[in-house]
Amino acid sequence: MKRYLLSLLASMLLSGITVAAQSAPEIRFDSEPGLLKFPESIHLGEAAGVATDSKGNIFVYTRTGHPTISIGTSRAFAHGGSRLFEFERNGKFMREIGQGLYGFLVAQQVRVDPQDNIWVVDQMSNMIIKFDPSGQVQLLLGRKAEAERIPALPLNRPPGAPGGGGGGEGPAAPRGLPGAGAQSDIFQRPTDVAWDAAGNIYVADGYGNARVAKFDKDGKFVKSWGSKGDAQNQFNTVHGIAIDSQGNVYVADSGNKRIQVFDPDGNFKTSISNVGSPSAICITPGGHQYLYSSNSNPPDDIDANGEIYKLELTGQIVGKFGRAGKAPKEFGTVNAMDCRNENELYVGEIGNWRVQKLTLHP
């Protein structure tokens, strides 16, 4: 028995993840968990998305209110459940954007592009929604299903299957590999969006599909790559996406515990591991870019994972900080990170219904 325990201990010590976690230097940091100030009648729910614009204003896309299914013509229709708020950089509430919007069901992510347009990813309406800086809808990718199936169909049905992701999908696309998705902007629980310097749009798709979909800046479908699996070019939950100044595409392949890196055409370049399950990633702007990756704890366990890694773009770990929990400076399933400033991060938490502003002291 003792020998068994010893060998178990040895194998734990030898596992790459444990070694990496132990050897990575700790980065000291402070947290401001109460930065955002809300009007009396507005409450954050799960803080799925957080992002800043060039002025430092803060956008939060949150799962809040009462997600509702109503009944009509023998079909069940889904409404509401998420809202998008904007705050000044000092946390003062500014406005709500897209109030009552048709595509706001289950918040997944918000990102702000270099022109300060606000992009929202909704996991249930299967839509990517681009607002201009004034808050007007400018571009839409995907289509919300007309009605919901009850009970729900399993994920990852072949494209064009009956009762599919939306009535009126149009002609069924040819059937591809599992998770390859329709060669179109019909998503299955997409998770994130990013852009290259030319404005091409890359969508992480997602929980249902296992692909990255590329569109030009006008929203025209270009191509997509990936399928379900653990081989190179395959994904197991594409949970986040970020692009460096060279146009390389970093894909958080959380189920496979790695970040896969591709060139702008989707050709595999390298893979970064030893950072747990990357659930939220971001890349800093500027001359020397860094990659942050959160090994987020699952929503039902705060005794595992939770730390955030700072990496060189090569994958070399610079340091790590934080752990799972509910107190300030602890993280409850981080779903979004903003790193417009290298040492001033915003993290959105699913488990703790809050946004923390973190100041790193490297």
């Binding site: 409450h43 009462h66 289950v106 919901e148 009970p151 366990d301």
Partner: protein, 349 residues
């Protein structure tokens, strides 16, 4: 005729089986009656605001009354000590789905337990969320039918229709969980799991539960659990080790412990939902007890009229002589002024 009789027998058997789970006549004898008056028009709601099932009620240190109610949406209202409406707390909150309990801790933080969203939510006194225990099931895939069959093993940080929350003097958190699981979970003040008693399975042994429906802690950190399906209140020490059980005061729907140096325990033998024949004669009363289980008296009876009780779901006993009760089937909250006990039963039915 004989066939008819046979069916009649089946119907009675079914009714009795249901009633056996839902109600039990108290076995305690010669319990003194505590006279009381219910305050007329205690809660004053603004026009166009209505209580639904008054599921949860609690007061804070200023005497303000919080009511967690199932209306068109589940909502949380605050009233002042005179019953004047103050505000709504957590308007439109993501975690408000199906009310079950509200409690106020010694620092006046407001805690709600929502059995539709599987969450325990802590608000600070200003009414902002400061901690969330549990995780609302993802709604991404649309509605999914409740799984049939045995419940999956209870997890540290997920609830299955939790029912109530309590704290010990150190701020450790106790959650009764609930309709799906049959356990009590202890967390530290930061919400980190420490231990549990019971499991996902229902049972009758000490330390097992059949619908733990309410929970309270005394000044020494002992924990009292209304084990409704087993018609008893189980008492545990602070490490959730079983101590004793009170089984002579009917079905334990809800429990409340008054603060101060001499604490009292209140437990409600609420009449069952649906008001089956005979239930009003056997159930509906609330017991006042010493913490050791000694019965001091009882008050109240099942009735739809003002002053009577219609399935008491929760009680506040911050002042042991002023009990605020919330009722399921009469959609109301009553404030009861207790008087010194009499030995003779005095109320008229």
């Amino acid at each position: 005729m004989r066939r008819l009789l046979k069916y009649w027998f089946i119907i009675v058997a079914v009714l009795c089986a249901d009633a056996a789970h839902a109600q039990m006549k108290a076995t305690a004898q010669n319990v003194p009656e505590i006279p009381y008056e219910s305050v007329r028009n205690f809660l004053k709601l603004p026009p166009n605001l209505y209580l639904g099932e008054a599921i949860g009620v609690a007061t804070n240190s200023k005497g303000h009354v919080f009511v967690y109610t199932r209306s068109a949406n589940t909502r949380l209202f605050e009233f002042d000590q005179n019953g004047k409406y103050v505000r709504e707390v957590g308007e439109g909150l993501y975690g408000f789905e199906f009310a079950h309990s509200v409690r106020v801790d010694p620092e006046d933080n407001i805690w709600v337990v929502d059995e539709g969203a599987n969450l325990v939510i802590k608000f600070n006194p200003e009414g902002r969320v400061v901690m969330v225990l549990g995780h609302r099931p993802e709604v991404v895939a649309g509605a999914i039918a409740t799984a049939a069959g045995p419940a999956p093993p209870a997890e540290k940080y997920t609830f299955s229709r939790p029912t109530d929350v309590a704290w010990d003097p150190q701020g450790n958190i106790f959650v009764s969980d609930g309709y799906g699981n049959n356990r009590v979970v202890k967390y530290d003040k930061n919400g980190r799991f420490l231990k549990q008693v019971g499991s996902e399975k229902a049972g009758r042994e000490p330390g097992q539960f059949n619908l733990p429906h309410a929970i309270a802690a005394d000044g020494k950190g002992n924990v009292y659990v209304s084990d409704r399906g087993n018609n008893r209140t189980q008492v545990f020490d602070n490490d959730l080790v079983f101590k004793t059980s009170y089984e002579n005061v009917g079905t334990a729907w809800t429990v409340c412990i008054s603060p101060g140096p001499h604490q009292y325990l209140f437990t409600s033998n609420s009449n069952p939902n649906g008001n089956p024949p005979g239930s009003w004669d056997n159930t509906g009363e609330i017991y006042k007890m010493e913490l050791d289980g000694t019965i001091l008296g009882k008050f109240g009876h099942a009735s739809k009229q003002f002053g009577g009780f219609q399935v008491v779901h929760m009680m506040d006993c911050r002042n042991p002589n002023e009990i605020v009760v919330a009722e399921i089937e009469s959609w109301r909250v009553q404030k009861l002024m207790l008087k010194p006990p009499q030995t003779k039963i005095s109320y008229a039915k």
